[in-house]
């Protein structure tokens, strides 16, 4: 099975990239880690390394070609591997390098890992294949949410749902409807160092027909840092963003730092908070991996950042090099990590969580779930102990600090249960 060379997503807003040049010619020998080709995005040129050693074959993306993110532009055959012509799916994707609006949307996932491939090519259900055909979406660029990375219809149709234009005003924080619709929305609050785009891989696993609203916390993504950064001001900022969208009640979901913000937000919303889902939340105990926070903020190169980001997941390679690149680039766009450093200094000084949201969680009357990966190397999963007995605690073996990525389907299911339970509670109350 040759290794596919895929045009990666190296920039937050990147939908396609132009191939600058190939460092290795068709038929040439390449070593893993060697520079393979260059992408020119709207902002910069970026060099991409080979992800495997072997002979480069089937180069379809030529210099100057504009190619959708996720497109297969070549294949690397291992030394002893017999050459086989490209599988049909890969061929089709490569044969149509032009970018359609749908293709671009489809690829807009911050973790640009392609769906798993098996010996016969891409895994996708017949319905997903049909929808992709009809919508002109390249399956190769999609993140499969089914077993073994199988692409399902929701992965195709979800990817093409029109995402609302970025909403931003001078006073408020950046927010976006990741899934539009009517009904009680989910409000997603990301963790430290991330942004609202980090939720995109989870979207396909969320209950269908539920609108999804996400924010960039102050100092993160496209939200500037204003005022004193602490859990309360961040909760106020999210409440403000919700009010700006006319959202007075919602199911709250937060990850890590965003979990603490969600808990604080639940106290502000009162009955408007229909359920509370906290994924590897901060604010339950003093311990946090201070070295991670410091190292993550200090890193200014891929080599320095990658080992820290590897701590986020149980499988060190789960996040992939593209996210490292994206994080660095984003940091550059924000003019450095000053905003996040200020947040860290305020809430995690000297490797200590200086705040607690336990009282908010214990006081919350709606359905509450706390989700941890048992291999979490950033916040100890033991923090889930000692909450009110009515809060559900879900612990995942073999999962690290990112259950929403590492146990995507299961977390999606738990959130669906929250939506169902919270809606029932709403009717009765």
């Amino acid at each position: 099975m040759p290794t596919e060379v895929i045009l990666p997503r190296v920039d937050m807003d990147m939908e396609s990239g132009k191939i600058g040049k190939w460092y290795i010619a068709e038929g040439g020998q390449v070593e893993k880690g060697q520079l393979l080709f260059e992408i020119e995005t709207s902002k910069a040129a970026m060099e991409i390394e080979a992800s495997a050693s072997g002979v480069l074959r089937d180069v379809t993306g030529q210099q100057g070609d504009e190619v959708a993110v996720g497109t297969v532009i070549g294949r690397i055959f291992a030394k002893d591997e017999k050459y086989t012509p490209p599988a049909k799916a890969a061929h089709a994707a490569a044969a149509k390098p032009e970018v359609s609006a749908h293709t671009a949307k489809a690829a807009a996932s911050p973790v640009a890992a392609p769906a798993d491939h098996d010996a016969h090519g891409l895994r996708a259900t017949p319905k997903a294949r049909r929808l992709a055909r009809e919508m002109g979406v390249a399956l190769a660029g999609l993140q499969g949410t089914g077993p073994r990375g199988r692409i399902q219809a929701q992965d195709v149709s979800g990817s093409s749902k029109p995402s609302a234009a970025m909403v931003k005003d001078a006073a408020g924080i950046n927010r976006e409807w990741l899934v539009k619709g009517s009904g009680m929305p989910l409000v997603l609050i990301h963790g430290f160092g991330a942004d609202l785009n980090s939720w995109r891989p989870l979207l396909g696993s969320l209950p269908p027909d539920v609108p999804v609203f996400a924010v960039d916390l102050p100092g993160h993504g496209k939200s500037p840092l204003t005022g004193v950064p602490n859990i309360d001001t961040m909760a106020d900022a999210v409440a403000g963003a919700m009010a700006g969208e006319g959202v007075s009640s919602a199911h709250l979901v937060g990850h890590s730092l965003g979990g603490a913000v969600a808990a604080a937000l639940s106290a502000r919303l009162g009955a408007g908070a229909r359920s509370l889902t906290l994924i590897a939340p901060a604010g339950l105990g003093p311990g946090i991996n201070g070295a991670f926070v410091t190292g993550f903020l200090a890193a200014s190169s891929e080599a320095a950042l990658a080992p820290w980001m590897a701590l986020l997941t149980a499988n060190a390679e789960a996040l992939g090099p593209a996210l490292v690149k994206t994080t660095l680039r984003q940091r550059k766009d924000m003019g450095g990590a000053a905003g996040q450093a200020a947040v860290a200094a305020a809430v995690f000084p000297e490797g200590t969580q200086t705040f607690s949201v336990r009282k908010h969680i214990d006081a919350f009357a709606g359905p509450t779930k706390v989700i941890f990966g048992l291999e979490d190397q950033v916040i100890p999963p033991s923090h889930a102990k000692g909450l009110a007995g009515t809060a559900g605690v879900h612990l995942f073996a073999g999962v690290g600090h990112m259950p929403q990525l590492e146990a995507r389907a299961a977390v999606g299911r738990l959130i669906a249960e929250q939506v169902a339970a919270g809606s029932r509670a709403g009717r009765n109350g």
């Binding site: 259900t125 017949p126 949410t145 077993p147 929701q154 389907a409 169902a420």
Partner: protein
């Protein structure tokens, strides 16, 4: 004008259909072991022997092949025999007459004769009747061109399908699940028929199609009620006719739901659900499938006598619900 409707048990509905057919047509007569004075092993024929006499409600010896031969011969001469096999398991003894004679004669004699024979058989597990009295052999007969095979799941259909079968010019095998005999349901008075080639949607839904047969239909409906509380909307199809299979109804449903679960009590391998699954994969619904087709069938074992093992050997409500959850949540 619609006839008045009252509640009858499944067994009463069958008895009513037999009585109506015999009263309307002198050619109709019943054969079977203990169906006369005793009223049938499951009390389906009841007091019909008193109404129509022992000449038309004939007790046969414990010799299924002989009984079937007499029934096929009578049908060839223009009579309309309804032959009851005490347990569908005993059809094995009558196989030659059913498969080699009844199913083939119209074809082999160039259409100059037909075999208007009905064979009724109590079937399935759940009564502690053990390995030789509990099988579900529908697929054996559904494999034979020349036979029609149906399995009613409501008192209404038990009556309507039986009347249609008696009026049909060709041999019809009717499987009656033993656990359904006491089930009550609305049954119109008087004569009506239910087509021998149509499936019926018992519950409309949008998330997953459950194609079930026999007792599994009521289990699937029970599972669907549980699932509805969880936000999963299952469509339950009663296949009802197993030969011919009404794949069109299943296919239209799968186009809507994108997910298919086949549930049947017969052994899973090479069962009715295997055929439904393959036919859907070949149908226009293929491009609408968003998950692998799943099958829940009987275990690869004789039906055990132990009540606990007997239950474990066939799909139960929770198994169906869990399979639907897997399908609906993209975990299948």
């Amino acid at each position: 004008m619609t006839s008045p409707v009252r509640e009858l048990s499944f067994a009463q509905a069958i008895q009513e259909a037999l009585g109506l057919a015999m009263a309307a047509d002198d050619r109709v007569f019943l054969m079977g072991e203990d169906i006369g004075v005793y009223g049938g092993a499951f009390q389906v024929t009841g007091d019909l022997v008193e109404r129509f006499g022992a000449d038309r409600v004939m007790d046969t010896p414990i010799a299924e092949l002989g009984g079937a031969g007499v029934a096929v011969g009578a049908a060839l001469t223009g009579m309309r025999p309804v032959f009851e096999l005490q347990f569908s398991d005993f059809s094995t003894l009558a196989m030659e007459q059913i498969v080699n004679q009844a199913a083939k004669l119209r074809y082999m004699l160039g259409g100059s004769v037909s075999v208007p024979l009905v064979i009724r058989m109590p079937t399935g597990s759940g009564t502690g009747a053990a390995a030789q009295h509990s099988q579900s052999l529908e697929a054996w007969f559904a494999h034979v061109p020349g036979l029609k095979v149906v399995e009613p799941t409501t008192p209404h259909d038990a009556k309507g399908l039986l009347l249609a079968a008696i009026e049909d010019p060709d041999p019809v095998m009717i499987f009656e699940h033993k656990l359904l005999y006491k089930m009550k349901g609305p049954v119109p008075e008087g004569h009506y028929t239910v087509p021998l080639n149509k499936a019926e949607i018992r519950r409309a839904g949008k998330d997953v199609t459950v194609a079930a047969m026999g007792i599994m239909v009521s289990k699937a409906l029970e599972a669907a009620t549980k699932l509805a509380a969880e936000g999963i909307d299952a469509e339950v199809i009663d296949l009802r006719s197993l030969r011919p299979l009404d794949i069109g109804t299943v296919s239209a449903s799968v186009v809507k739901t994108s997910r298919l679960l086949c549930v049947y009590e017969g052994v899973k391998t090479l069962g009715i659900g295997a055929e439904v699954s393959a036919a859907i994969a070949e149908s226009e619904a293929f491009d609408h499938l968003d998950a692998p087709i799943m099958r829940l069938g009987g275990a690869e074992t004789p039906i055990p006598y132990s009540p606990i093992l007997e239950k474990a050997a066939v799909p139960q409500v929770d198994d169906i619900a869990e399979a639907c959850r897997k399908l609906a949540s993209g975990r299948a």
